[in-house]
C-alpha cells in the first residue's frame, strides 16, 4: 500500500540523484579528467538502455502470454555483438572518421550528403519511435496506478510526459558538444543499468527461491499456453531479425552505441559483456511469469507481475526496488531517445530551414548555437507530445511488447540502406530514398495505422475490406498473402519491397561524384583510415603483399627492419603495420630508392588498389628488376672507383707541384747564400793575383779566403745535413744517453767561444742521472747550436747562460736560457725558418740554418724544439722522451 505522495517523493529523490551523477560526470568531462568515464564498462552498461520498460515489465507479460518468444528480443542483439568485428566495428569507424552525429547523419552523409534523405530518415525515426515512447509512458502509468491501488489521477500520464520532457531538456541540452557526446547522460544511464539489473534479478530470486522452492518447483505445474512444441518458426526468425536490426537502427541505440563511443576497443569488451548483461536480465523472466501465473489471480495484468508479485506478498522493500527498476528502465529510454531525436530534428530540419530563411545573414556562430539549442528543446517537447498522443489514441491498453514491436518494424526500414551503404559502393541515394519510402509506407499501412484500430487515418472498414473495397490491398493481408502473424506479414512485405527497390533503383541510377566519393570513403573505411586509438586493424592482405614485395626488393633483413619500424611508429607492438595511406606512401618511398619512383608507384599501387596483376607476377617483375638494378649498381661502383683514382692522381699532382715550387725556392735561396762567400773569395783572390799587396795584407787576405772557404764548406754540409734530415730517410739508432755527459760535451765544445765573449754558464737541475733516448752526437750538435746562439745574440753587459733541466713523468725539458735582448715578438715565428738571420750581428760562419737543422734533429728523436716566449732574454726548450727501461734501441722512423 503506497501513498501517492510517498511514491512521488521517492521518484523525485531518485531523479535528483541521477541528475547529480550526470552533473558530476559532465564536470569531470569538461575538466578533461575523463578517466573511468571512458572505460569500456561504462560504455557497455550504457548500451543497456536497450532494456526499457518493455524488458522490465513487458517481457514477463510476453512470456506469460506466449512462451519463449521474448528471448528473441535479446538474442538478436547478442548475435550482432558476437559479430562485432564485422558490422559494428565498421559502423563505429565510419562514424568516427566522418564525424557522424546520428543515424540520419550517417545515411545522409553516405548518400552524397543529401539533405532530403536526412529529412526522410528523421521523420521516419520520429514516427517510428512514437509507439516506443508511448510504451514507456504506459508502463510508468501502470506501475504507478498499481502501487497507488488505482487511485492515480487520469492526468498522471500527462504529468509524466511533461516531467520527462523537462528532465531530457535539463540533461541533454545544456550545451552542444562538438562530438554530440553527452557524458553526463551516459554515466547516469550506466548507473540505471545496474539498478535495473539488480532489481529484476532480485525479484527473480525472490520468485524462485522465496515464493517457491527452486527451479524444479517453479516449473512443476506449468500453466497452459506457456510452452509449446514449436519454438522455432517464422515468428522466431522475424523477431530475432527485428531485434538485431533495432539494436543498430533505433535512434537511442545508435546514439549510445556509435555516437557516444569514444574508443573502438570498447566494442571488444561490449561484444561479450553486453550479451552477458542481456542474458542475466532475461534469465528470470520465464520463472517470474510462471510464478505470477500460478500465484496471482487470473485477471492480473501479466505485464506487471514484476511489481505485483512482491506487492502481493507484502515485501515493501522489494516492491520499491521493483518500482525504481521499472522507473529507471522507462526514463532512461525516453531521455536518450528524446535527445537523439531532437539532435536529428535540429540538425537536419530546424537549423537548415532557419539558415535558408535568414538567407545567409548569419552574423555569428552564436546565432546558430542558439537556434540549435532552442530547436532541440522544442523538439524534445514535440517528441514527447507525440508519444503522449499515441498513448491516448491507442487507448493505452495494448500489450507492451506488441507496441514495442511496431517500433522495431518501423526503424528496421532503415536497414537495407544502411547495410547497402557501408558494404556496397553501388548503393545510391535514389535507391535509398526509394527503398526507405516504400518500406515506410508499407509499414505504416500494414502495422502502424492499424494499431489505431480505425481511430486514425485508416477506418475500421478499410482495415477489414481494403481501401475502396480492394481486397488485394487489405492492410493485414497484402496481395492476398495470408500470414497469420501481422508482424511477420509486415516485416516480410516491407523488407522485401524495401530491399528490392533499393537494389533495383541503385543499379539503375548514376550517382554524382560526391556520392561516389562518399561511397568509397564509407565502404573502404578500413583501407583509408587510421586504426583509431590502439586498434591494430588493417587490410592484412595489403600489408602482407607489401611485405613480400619489400623482401624481394630490399632484402629480408632490411624489409623486416623497415616494417617493424613503421609498425612501431603506428603504435603497434608487433606484427605487420596497418596498410594506411601513410604506411603505403612510406613503403613506396623506400622501394623507390631501389627501383625508381615510377616502378615503385606502379607496384605499390597495384597492391594497394587491388589491381589486375597478381602479386606473383609483381614479384617476378621485382626479381627481374632486382637483377637489372644489381648490374647497374656494379657499373656505378666501377665508375666510382675510377673517379676516386682520378682524384688521387690529381692530389698527387698538386703535391708534386707544390714540392717542386718549394724546391725551386730552396735552390734559389741556397744559391744566393753560396754566392756571398764565393764573391768574397773571388774578390780577394783577384786582388792577390793582380795587385801589388803588402806582405801583411797578403797574409790577412789569405786568411779571409781561408775562412770563407771554410764557411762555404760548412754551409754546404749544413744544407746537405738538413736535406738529409728532412728527406725522412734518417736511420739513426736511438740509444740511452746520459744527459749529463751530453751537456758536458757541449760545454767543452763551446768553451772557447764562451770564454772569448766572457759569458758565464750555469747548469740547474739534473742532480740524479737522467737518461734520454737520443742520438748522442746529434744531440750534442743541437745543444752546441743553442749555446752558440745564446752567446752570439745574448750580448749584454753581464751575459749569462742558464741550462735548466726539468723532468716530467716520461719526458725531460732541457732549457737554454740567456739574459740577452731576447727575440722580438714579430720575429718569433720566423726563428726556425731556413736562412733566417735576425739582425746582422756577428754572423760570421752562420748560414741561418742552425735552428732549422736543430729542430729537424730533435724531431727525428721524437722530441720538439721550441722557443718559449718570455719577457726578456730567450728560452729555447728541447723536449725529449726519457729512456724507459722497456725501450730497446730502435731505429728512428
Amino acid at each position: 500500500m503506497r501513498d501517492g505522495n510517498a511514491l512521488l517523493s521517492v521518484s523525485l529523490i531518485y531523479t535528483a540523484f541521477l541528475f547529480l551523477i550526470a552533473f558530476w560526470a559532465e564536470r569531470r568531462a569538461a575538466a578533461g579528467r575523463l578517466g573511468w568515464l571512458k572505460s569500456p564498462w561504462v560504455y557497455t552498461l550504457s548500451l543497456s538502455v536497450y532494456c526499457t520498460g518493455w524488458t522490465f515489465y513487458g517481457a514477463v507479460g510476453s512470456a506469460a502470454r506466449g512462451g519463449l518468444d521474448f528471448v528473441t528480443i535479446y538474442l538478436g542483439p547478442s548475435l550482432v555483438f558476437f559479430g562485432w568485428w564485422f558490422l559494428l566495428r565498421k559502423l563505429v569507424r565510419i562514424s568516427q572518421t566522418q564525424r557522424i552525429t546520428s543515424i540520419a547523419d550517417l545515411l545522409s552523409s553516405r548518400y552524397g550528403k543529401s539533405a532530403s534523405l536526412a529529412v526522410v530518415v528523421t521523420l521516419l525515426a520520429v514516427i517510428g519511435s512514437t509507439p516506443y515512447i508511448a510504451l514507456q509512458l504506459q508502463s510508468l502509468t501502470l506501475s504507478i496506478s498499481v502501487l497507488s491501488e488505482g487511485n492515480a489521477p487520469l492526468s498522471t500520464t500527462l504529468w509524466l510526459a511533461i516531467g520527462l520532457a523537462l528532465f531530457a531538456i535539463l540533461f541533454g541540452t545544456r550545451t552542444i558538444d562538438a562530438n554530440e557526446q553527452h557524458h553526463g547522460v551516459v554515466t547516469a544511464i550506466a548507473f540505471e543499468a545496474v539498478v535495473k539489473l539488480v532489481a529484476l534479478v532480485a525479484i527473480g530470486l525472490f520468485a524462485v527461491w522465496g515464493l517457491k522452492d527452486g527451479p524444479a518447483d517453479v516449473f512443476a505445474a506449468l500453466p497452459d499456453g506457456i510452452l509449446s512444441d514449436q519454438v522455432f518458426g517464422p515468428r522466431w526468425v522475424t523477431l530475432t531479425f527485428l531485434s538485431a536490426t533495432a539494436v543498430i537502427c533505433l535512434p537511442r541505440m545508435f546514439q549510445v552505441l556509435v555516437v557516444e563511443n569514444s574508443d573502438e576497443r570498447h566494442l571488444a569488451t561490449a561484444s561479450w559483456a553486453f550479451p552477458a548483461y542481456l542474458l542475466l536480465i532475461s534469465l528470470f523472466v520465464l520463472p517470474i511469469a510462471v510464478v505470477g501465473k500460478t500465484i496471482l489471480p487470473d485477471g492480473a495484468n501479466p505485464d506487471l507481475y514484476v511489481l505485483t508479485l512482491p506487492l502481493s506478498q507484502g515485501s515493501e522493500l522489494l516492491t520499491l526496488l521493483a518500482f525504481l527498476g521499472g522507473f529507471s528502465a522507462s526514463t532512461s529510454m525516453v531521455i536518450v531517445s528524446a535527445i537523439a531525436l531532437s539532435t536529428m530534428i535540429s540538425n537536419h530540419i530546424a537549423v537548415p530551414v532557419w539558415l535558408k530563411m535568414s538567407h545567409g545573414k548569419v552574423e555569428t556562430s552564436g546565432d546558430v548555437r542558439y537556434v540549435a539549442l532552442a530547436s532541440r528543446r522544442a523538439a524534445i517537447g514535440l517528441v514527447l507530445a507525440l508519444g503522449y498522443l499515441y498513448f491516448l489514441l491507442t487507448g493505452g491498453s495494448g500489450a507492451l511488447a506488441s507496441i514495442g514491436l511496431i517500433s522495431f518494424a518501423g526503424v528496421a526500414q532503415l536497414l537495407p540502406s544502411l547495410i547497402g551503404g557501408i558494404y556496397w559502393r553501388g548503393a545510391t541515394r535514389a535507391g535509398a530514398l526509394t527503398g526507405i519510402g516504400i518500406g515506410f509506407t508499407i509499414w505504416a499501412y500494414t502495422l502502424f495505422l492499424p494499431s489505431f484500430e480505425g481511430g486514425f487515418l485508416l477506418s475500421a472498414r478499410t482495415l477489414i475490406e481494403g481501401p475502396f473495397g480492394i481486397a488485394a490491398l487489405r492492410p493485414e493481408a497484402l496481395f492476398g498473402l495470408q500470414i497469420d502473424d501481422p508482424l511477420v506479414h509486415t516485416v516480410f512485405w516491407s523488407i522485401l519491397l524495401n530491399a528490392g527497390s533499393f537494389i533495383a533503383v541503385s543499379l539503375a541510377s548514376n550517382p554524382p561524384i560526391l556520392e561516389r566519393i562518399q561511397g568509397t570513403q564509407f565502404v573502404d573505411v578500413f583501407r583509408v583510415s587510421e586504426p583509431g586509438r590502439g586498434m591494430v586493424v588493417g587490410r592484412q592482405a595489403t600489408s602482407e603483399d607489401l611485405f613480400a614485395l619489400a623482401q624481394r626488393i630490399l632484402g629480408t633483413e632490411t624489409a623486416h627492419h623497415l616494417f617493424a619500424e613503421v609498425s612501431r611508429s603506428q603504435g603497434n607492438t608487433g606484427g605487420l603495420p596497418a596498410a594506411d595511406d601513410a604506411m603505403i606512401a612510406r613503403i613506396e618511398r623506400e622501394l623507390a630508392g631501389s627501383i625508381g619512383s615510377a616502378s615503385a608507384h606502379a607496384m605499390v599501387g597495384q597492391i594497394a588498389d587491388g589491381g589486375q596483376i597478381s602479386v606473383d607476377q609483381l614479384i617476378r617483375m621485382a626479381d627481374e628488376t632486382a637483377q637489372i638494378v644489381e648490374y647497374s649498381q656494379r657499373l656505378e661502383r666501377q665508375s666510382h672507383e675510377l673517379e676516386a683514382t682520378a682524384r688521387q692522381l690529381r692530389e698527387a699532382n698538386d703535391r708534386l707541384t707544390k714540392l717542386g715550387a718549394q724546391k725551386d725556392a730552396f735552390l734559389s735561396q741556397v744559391s744566393h747564400e753560396l754566392r756571398t762567400p764565393m764573391t768574397s773569395i773571388r774578390s780577394f783572390a783577384e786582388i792577390l793575383l793582380n795587385d801589388e799587396v803588402a806582405d801583411s795584407d797578403a797574409h790577412r787576405f789569405t786568411g779571409i779566403i781561408h775562412d770563407e772557404s771554410h764557411r762555404l764548406t760548412r754551409l754546404l754540409d749544413e744544407i746537405l745535413d738538413l736535406s738529409f734530415l728532412e728527406s725522412g730517410e734518417v736511420r739513426w739508432t736511438l740509444k740511452s744517453c746520459d744527459l749529463a755527459e751530453i751537456i758536458a760535451a757541449a760545454l767543452s765544445a763551446t768553451e772557447g767561444q764562451r770564454r772569448a765573449m766572457g759569458v758565464a754558464l750555469q747548469v740547474e737541475g739534473g742532480r740524479q742521472a737522467i737518461r734520454v733516448k737520443a742520438d748522442f752526437d746529434r744531440l750534442v750538435q743541437v745543444l752546441v747550436n743553442l749555446i752558440s746562439n745564446a752567446v752570439k745574440y745574448g750580448q749584454v753587459d753581464d751575459p749569462k747562460i742558464t741550462i735548466a733541466i726539468v723532468v716530467t713523468s716520461d719526458r725531460v725539458h732541457l732549457d737554454v736560457i740567456d739574459n740577452g735582448p731576447g727575440i722580438p715578438a714579430e720575429d718569433q715565428d720566423q726563428v726556425f725558418e731556413k736562412f733566417t738571420r735576425l739582425g746582422e750581428k756577428s754572423l760570421a760562419g752562420s748560414a741561418g740554418l742552425g735552428l732549422a737543422i736543430s729542430r729537424e734533429i730533435v724531431r727525428n728523436m721524437n722530441g720538439t724544439l721550441t722557443l718559449v716566449p718570455r719577457p726578456h732574454g730567450a728560452l729555447f726548450r728541447i723536449d725529449l722522451p726519457l729512456y724507459q727501461a722497456t725501450d730497446r734501441p730502435k731505429a728512428a722512423e
Binding site: L68, V71, L75, S78, L79, V80, F81, F82, G83, W85, F86, P215, A216, D217, F219, A220, L222, L227, S228, D229, Q230, V231, F232, W236, V237, T240, R265, A268, T269, S271, W272, P275, A276, L279, L283, L286, M535, V536, Q540, S543, E544, F547, A548, T556, E557, H560, H561, F563, A564, S567, N572, T573, G574, G575, L576
Partner: protein
Amino acid sequence: MNVNNDPSIADRALLRRRHNDTALALPAFGIVLLVSPILNIFAQIDTFFGIPAAYLYIFAAWALMIAAAYRVTKGVTGDDTD
C-alpha cells in the same frame, strides 16, 4: 631486432588473420545454435530435471557463445603478449 629470434612479422600476421576468421565464424555459429530448427528438437522434450528443455538449452547455448566471444575477443584485439 634479431630476425631469427622474433616470430617473423609474416607469421604474426597469419595468426592475426586466423583470429579474424574465428571472429567471423562466431556469429554464424550463434545463428545455427539459436535461430534454427534445432530449437524445436528441444521444444519437444518436455522438461529436463524439471526445467523446460528449450529454456535450458537456449540459455546454455547463449552462455556458451558469450564465453566463446570472450575468448575470441582476446585473440583478435591482439594481446601481443599472448
